[in-house]
């Protein structure tokens, strides 16, 4: 028999004051920015000074957020660490590659090389707590977090681990931001917070590190239960409704059973039709939620959506700042998250409330 998988710890560092907070935080809007500024905790309070000085931004965010999620769950040693990142350690990669060019492939320093690999955060977390368990980092575009989540969920469900630290991390470097602007991925004008009424292509970018501790035991106050995760690389807009229906049917549900649908709308008119069509076809009478106006777009932005949805199920509240269609809120028992990026990397996550568990 498959075990149930509970979310027992959460943490998030983002463009919002989410670290050490829930959804009752003071949301911050940056209407003039096409790259949202991250609100960083004071890392000196959480990381040893000797280690901190070698850590780039994404490593600081990742290790601090991971440790906070473990602390939130009361877990000192998870059985495994499974992380997703789309871009990895960009800052150190840029630094190392720039040194190769600048120094004619000579005199390359070790630190940037060591920390330029995509699995650095997972490794640093493991080294920090002495975890010798299964340690894997998924680098799978905009379903990197979902890939990690699916692995973690299946590993626990099949009885191969009791607790797993999972999460999504991505940083935006100056070099990456410049490239994204040139290629039209980042918006170049307009009110960037108007994600729902955007008339232009591209998105507002962000970065972040959201972590969760999954467990086969609900503990004292689990946030939610991870019921199912599904993803596919390619999906035509007209096929989304069928894919969502099939996913829900496989879980014994219909669209009417979903109490809130969390959509990854990011203000790119070229691809937001995926969400509007899904919302119209299946969830016209369902409270609809969005979040990327708060955290920006990045490959693992869905980890922010996951963090938010878990808090919604825990508190039975949808923060007004995330509401799309202003329908009367129901009791939140099932939340479905749907995300895609640039028309590819589609994912569905089904979460269940466990407010009355155990």
């Amino acid at each position: 028999m498959m075990k149930r998988v509970y979310v027992t710890g959460l943490s998030c560092i983002s463009a919002q004051p989410t670290f050490g907070a829930g959804l009752d935080t003071e949301w911050r809007f940056q209407p003039e920015c096409n790259v949202l500024e991250t609100i960083h905790p004071v890392y000196k309070s959480f990381l040893p000074a000797a280690a901190l000085r070698r850590m780039s931004k994404v490593i600081r965010m990742g290790v601090t957020s991971a440790n906070a999620a473990l602390a939130d769950a009361g877990v000192s040693m998870p059985d495994a660490i499974i992380i997703g990142t789309g871009m990895g350690c960009g800052e150190d990669s840029d630094k190392f590659l720039e040194a190769i060019v600048a120094n004619g492939e000579e005199m390359l320093t070790p630190t940037a090389f060591i920390q330029s690999t995509h699995n650095t955060v997972g490794a640093q977390v493991a080294v920090g707590i002495g975890c010798k368990g299964y340690n894997l980092t998924y680098v799978n575009g905009a379903v990197s977090f979902e890939s990690a989540l699916l692995d973690a969920q299946m590993t626990i469900a099949e009885g191969n681990a009791h607790t797993i630290l999972t999460g999504g991390i991505d940083e935006l470097t100056k070099h990456s931001a410049d490239l994204f602007r040139h290629s039209g991925l980042i918006k170049l004008g307009g009110d960037y917070t108007e994600v729902l009424h955007s008339k232009s292509g591209g998105t507002v970018f962000g970065e972040g590190a959201a972590f969760a501790v999954l467990s086969d035991s609900p503990g004292k106050s689990p946030y939610a239960e991870v019921a199912d995760v599904w993803m596919t690389a390619v999906l035509q807009p007209q096929a989304v409704a069928g894919a969502v229906s099939d996913f829900l049917t496989a879980n014994g549900l219909t669209p009417a059973d979903i109490d809130a649908v969390v959509l990854g709308i990011d203000g790119d008119v070229q691809y937001d039709g995926y969400y509007s069509q899904t919302a119209t076809d299946l969830f016209a009478e369902t409270p609809q939620v969005y979040y990327k106006h708060l955290c920006g777009e990045f490959n693992t932005a869905q980890a922010f959506g996951f963090w938010a949805a878990c808090h919604m199920l825990h508190t039975n509240e949808i923060p007004p700042v995330m509401v799309i269609n202003h329908l009367p809120q129901r009791e939140l028992n099932h939340i479905l998250l749907y995300n895609q990026y640039n028309g590819i990397d589609h994912s569905l996550i089904l979460l269940k409330a466990c407010r009355n568990t155990p």
Binding site: A49, A50, R53, R54, M107
Partner: protein, 85 residues
Amino acid sequence: MEDLKLELKKNIITVLNLEDLKPEDIDDNAPIFGDGLGLDSIDALELIVMFSKEYGIKLTDPKEGKKIFISINTMADYITAHRTV
């Protein structure tokens, strides 16, 4: 010599990301490894690269580094005697 020591301290702070330190916080005679600045073997590699890049000094013998990377004074003395740029 004093200018070289100041430049050396600034280079060390930059190369090793010692963001909480200012040049005046580093004692010329204090050990930079172990109890002093608390540097380690990865930092030693960074310092070897810095010596090559900034002063044209190529250190190939690890034993040699132990005698050079003792303090700011020993490093400045070695640079003065061996620099090529």
